[in-house]
């Protein structure tokens, strides 16, 4: 089921939430909409779900125009950021909801819900209320509920943001695996680039209602097409006055040498361990700060106060 989003714009009062967005989502694809808050990614997700009607543009599915079709008739599965489970229904009835409103026979409902409970590994919890579940369990109930009516597209709004770090990582891997099993076209919104890169086949980077870049995680990481994309992926230092354009240098692309080597003269201000890498804060002789993220073994040769030469193995320059 391929989906074409063609020239969609959406305003909320004076705020332009989506500005001429065009995007193609392939059948069976796992696509991430990545961007800071207010960049339009959630609005696009709601347009796909039929909860918002765009001011301009169309949403098409295999050539059929869906733009004016309401949320009820789209048959999309939407997982809300805070799950939006029905607190007055138990896990079983939450998952069964889409089948109940379609008046499916009891036996069919039971079989489908049992199958989904098994799929999301919540077999023993069918008769718990949402309030009695952990965050990760609620997330899985929300997912099972969204999948119950075999939606054509699965949409997830910040699916892991309400969970703590450990559960988040477990569920990411699990969701990726689930997607491979089911093959349902899936779109998820996130502001976390690690999440987008780890999970998605392709990533669309949003900025101020526009898509800055669409591509595989490799393409986006290696060939960022705008300063915003490079900056948003993080761990980057912007340097001016070293050439004609402003340069973006990733911390991990900075290599240090002893004085006398080619490179930018710099002094080491601070060295400290940050997780797997060692962060070295430098002051260039031009007065600008620079950060190098070194392998611990490489960092061992240097000390605070030392004069060094910094070389950027990779620099990004953007025409302005």
């Amino acid at each position: 089921m391929s989906i074409e989003i063609l020239g969609i714009s959406k305003n909320f009062g004076a705020f332009r939430a989506l500005d001429d967005v065009t995007l193609r989502i392939g059948k069976g694809e796992l696509l991430a909409l990545l961007g800071p808050s207010g960049s339009g990614k959630t609005t696009l997700l709601r347009v796909l779900a039929g909860l918002e009607v765009p001011d301009v543009g169309t949403v098409q599915e295999d050539g059929h125009d869906l733009t004016s079709l309401g949320a009820r008739d789209r048959n999309v599965g939407l997982v809300f950021q805070h799950f939006a489970l029905f607190p007055h229904l138990d896990v079983f009835e939450n998952i069964a909801f889409a089948l109940r409103v379609r008046k499916r026979p009891d036996a069919e409902v039971r079989a489908r819900v049992d199958e989904l409970l098994h799929l999301v590994q919540l077999g023993g919890l069918a008769h718990r209320r949402p309030a009695e579940l952990s965050g990760g369990q609620r997330q899985r109930v929300a997912l099972a509920r969204a999948l119950a009516a075999r939606p054509r597209v699965l949409l997830l709004d910040e699916p892991f943001s309400a969970l703590d770090a450990k559960v988040r990582h477990e569920l990411r891997a699990w969701l990726r695996q689930l997607h491979e099993e089911l093959g349902t076209t899936t779109v998820f919104v996130t502001h976390d680039q690690d999440e987008a890169f780890e999970l998605a086949d392709r990533v669309a980077v949003f900025h101020r209602g526009r898509i800055e870049q669409v591509g595989t995680p490799d393409e986006i990481y290696d060939e960022p097409k705008s300063p915003f994309v490079l900056d948003f992926l993080g761990h980057v230092q912007w340097l001016e006055g070293l050439g004609l354009a402003t340069l973006g240098v990733r911390h991990r692309d900075v290599v240090l040498h002893a004085a006398g080597h080619d490179g930018w003269p710099a002094r080491i201000e601070r060295i400290h361990r940050t997780g797997p890498r060692v962060r070295v804060d430098l002051q260039l002789h031009t007065g600008q700060p620079l950060i190098a993220a070194l392998e611990p073994s490489a960092a061992r040769e240097f000390a605070v106060g030392q004069e060094v030469r910094a070389v950027a193995t990779r620099k990004y320059a953007f025409a302005t």
Partner: protein, 262 residues
Amino acid sequence: MVRIVLTFLAMAWLALMVLAPVAIVLVEALGAGLGAWWAAVSDEETRTSVALSLQIAALVVPLNAIFGVAAAWALARFRFPGRALLLALLDLPLSVSPVVAGLVFVLLFGAQGWFGVWLQEHDVQIIFAVPGIVLATAFVTLPMVARELLPLLESQGDDAELAALTLGASGWQVFWRVSFPRMRGALAYGVLLCLARALGEFGAVSVVSGHIRGQTDTLPLHVEILHNEYHFQAAFAAASLLLLVGVATLLLRRLHTPETGD
């Protein structure tokens, strides 16, 4: 020290303003024994006034419950032109004096009122009759259900309802399967408050009723009549029935535990 003083002040004030009147009602009503209380309560005119009050509540409470659910739902879930006005109007019956509310209906439907002539020509009696009492009571109790539901609906948000929609539910299915079950507790309490107020309303009803004995005397009006005629024990016995309604309302509120979102 401050805590003790504040607590003592609060308790003393409460005792003086609430406990003492309640105690007086009970002492006066039951002072002459249960037999005398029962005799007063089962008196023909008292029974008629109780029946009238119940009849009026039976008409008013369902109407205001339906209105309250509709208004709270619309105000909490939708942005529409006139929403701010509806919110302001909703509070009007609570802020305006009940006597003024009663007078408004007299001005509208009374013999000298705007529609008075037309109503007389068509032989419809509203003021000094049961329809007037129903209208006045409905006006005074109008916001009680809506005001109870509105904060709940706003705090719940509309995520669950939108989720139901994306799962294929129709508007009515969303309401009956998701919205209504989640508001049941607050609705029950709103209905209870509305009922207590409908049975107890005095000011507005007093203006439109005309005090026709055995016909337009509700229970609170009957209490006043008995008192004015120096039947103190009977007046307090009738008043104790209203007190009972109030206490029952509070007890039921204690039983009902509000839903705390998800």
